[in-house]
């Protein structure tokens, strides 16, 4: 589904990604972790071209992301993305947040888009909040709406960029629950996250990044059981200590 081949990226002289290669097969859930500044968010943003890359290639469902003729809006409409800071549109009601891209990008009718949005809102347990505005919801609720908004586009895969890092601790689980459910239904997912409990539960593979390199790309059990690199072991020790 997602193929990343030898991708490198520079910000001026600073190399943020170095020959990253990995793939996410249909139905797989791949968790990307690593210390801050390791390039994991940059890598996931390259997948839907929110960040350009300098070398290598990325294909999503057979479409080359970096190629000249590729229509990025069309590609992105098929790839759902969830952000660290939710990024709901603050001036629109929850219903409109869910419907706007269906109407303007996919050309769905207003009623159809609303119905679809409400059904997904129900699925993330927030139907009662349909007429509210993002600023009236808690962080956890906003992030669940953001997931529903991405799903409303009927994506072929989902990208999660640290979806729980901006949340208060007691709100993390409500978001992870939605993500677990999604994974169990067979959605193809690439998740940048430090939630190792989530990784243990649903991940097929875990990728560990450091200084722009993919240091480990392992089966979940292999990764947690016996990480090969010293750096990954240190990292796991630190975040699993408590």
């Amino acid at each position: 589904m997602i193929e990343i081949n030898n991708v490198s990226k520079w910000y001026g002289d600073f190399r943020v990604l170095t020959e990253c290669t990995t793939r996410v097969a249909a139905g797989e859930v791949v968790v990307v972790c690593g210390p801050s500044g390791s390039g994991k968010s940059t890598l996931i943003k390259c997948v839907n071209a929110l960040e350009p890359f300098n070398e290598g290639s990325i294909t999503v469902d057979g479409t080359s992301v970096g190629a000249r003729g590729t229509s990025l809006p069309k590609l992105r409409a098929r790839v759902g993305m969830v952000f660290q800071h939710f990024e709901l549109f603050p001036h629109m009601s929850i219903t409109d947040n869910l419907a706007i891209a269906q109407i303007k990008v996919l050309g769905r009718g207003r009623d159809e888009a609303r119905q679809k949005g409400l059904a997904l809102l129900d699925r993330v347990g927030l139907k009662a909040h349909a007429d509210k505005f993002p600023g009236q919801l808690s962080g956890g609720q906003q992030q669940r709406v953001a997931i529903a908004r991405a799903l409303a586009m009927d994506p072929i895969c989902m990208l999660f960029d640290e979806p729980t890092s901006a949340l208060d601790p007691e709100m993390i689980n409500e978001v992870l629950d939605v993500m677990v459910e999604l994974a169990q239904e067979g959605m193809t997912m690439m998740c940048v996250t430090h939630e190792m409990g989530f990784a243990r539960k649903v991940a097929s593979r875990v990728i560990f990044m450091d200084h722009g390199h993919i240091v480990e790309d392992d089966d979940k059990d292999a990764f947690f059981g016996n990480p090969r690199s010293e750096r990954a072991r240190q990292f796991l020790d630190k975040i699993l200590q408590h």
Partner: protein, 245 residues
């Protein structure tokens, strides 16, 4: 105080058969027309320029920045003279002649005042857009919006809300600045004011009345946009200036 107050003179006939109060009303009408026309033009041109300056296309940014630098650094009165007297000479002869002879004065005045104000509005629209987090644009793009659609549906609606207070004072400025167009022959309120002083010497009465009219115009604009501000307030956002998080 020896001043001889005479409020009745407003009802007196003038040389051209109208009464003085009718001169004032006519001036008020032209002031309103020039100001609203200029404001509309400025909002359109200013928004386009403001958007251009926030894109990632260097040429567009350069055009927008140059415009703002140019139009903000020339005094309004000089700009009006340029539009009225210099620009027609630079145009192809037939068009220049048409501008000088056929085009109503008010159109040129609206263009002059509007394009001057557009530079200021471009600055505000730009700062409004830039105050939003980059994540908002990315969220729009990730849903499949084109760059333009992220402006239309995501960024501009919030940017306008954020800069509405600044736009309000700009709108009030347009009414006050419109008085400068008397210098190029617009028969607007300030022109009539000058004319009435020359004819009647009732300086205090007419000054008070004209002052009151300008205040009323600016204040009406202020109230009107205050109403717009309340109507477009986003529930759950404490200050409109927060733009997301």
């Amino acid at each position: 105080m020896n001043y001889h107050w005479n409020w009745q003179f407003f009802l007196q006939q003038t040389d051209d058969g109208l009464r003085y109060y009718e001169w004032i009303l006519s001036g008020l009408g032209w002031t309103t027309l020039v100001s609203l026309g200029a404001l509309a033009l400025a909002l359109i041109v200013g928004s386009v320029l403001g958007v251009m300056r926030t894109t990632e296309r260097r040429a567009l940014v350069l055009i927008g920045d140059s415009y703002v630098d140019l139009f903000r650094n020339i005094p309004l009165i000089v700009q009006l003279f340029l539009w009225f007297f210099v620009v027609p000479e630079l145009l192809p002869e037939a068009i220049g002649l048409w501008v000088k002879q056929e085009l109503p004065y008010v159109a040129t005045a609206i263009v002059g005042l509007g394009l001057y104000t557009a530079a200021r509005i471009a600055e505000q629209v730009k700062s409004g857009i830039q105050s939003l987090s980059r994540g908002q644009r990315n969220a729009g793009l990730a849903l499949g919006f084109t760059e333009w659609q992220t402006y239309r549906y995501v960024r501009l609606p919030m940017a306008y809300r954020i800069v509405l207070p600044a736009l309000t004072s700009e709108a009030m400025n347009v009414f006050k600045n419109s008085s400068v167009t008397y210098a190029v022959g617009m028969l607007e309120l300030y022109f009539q004011y000058k004319q009435i002083i020359e004819k009647t010497s009732q300086v205090l009465e007419i000054t008070l009345v004209v002052t009151l009219l300008y205040v009323t115009l600016a204040f009406t604009m202020n109230r009107l946009l205050g109403w717009v501000e309340r109507r477009t307030r986003v529930p759950g956002l404490i200050a409109a200036g927060q733009g997301g998080h």
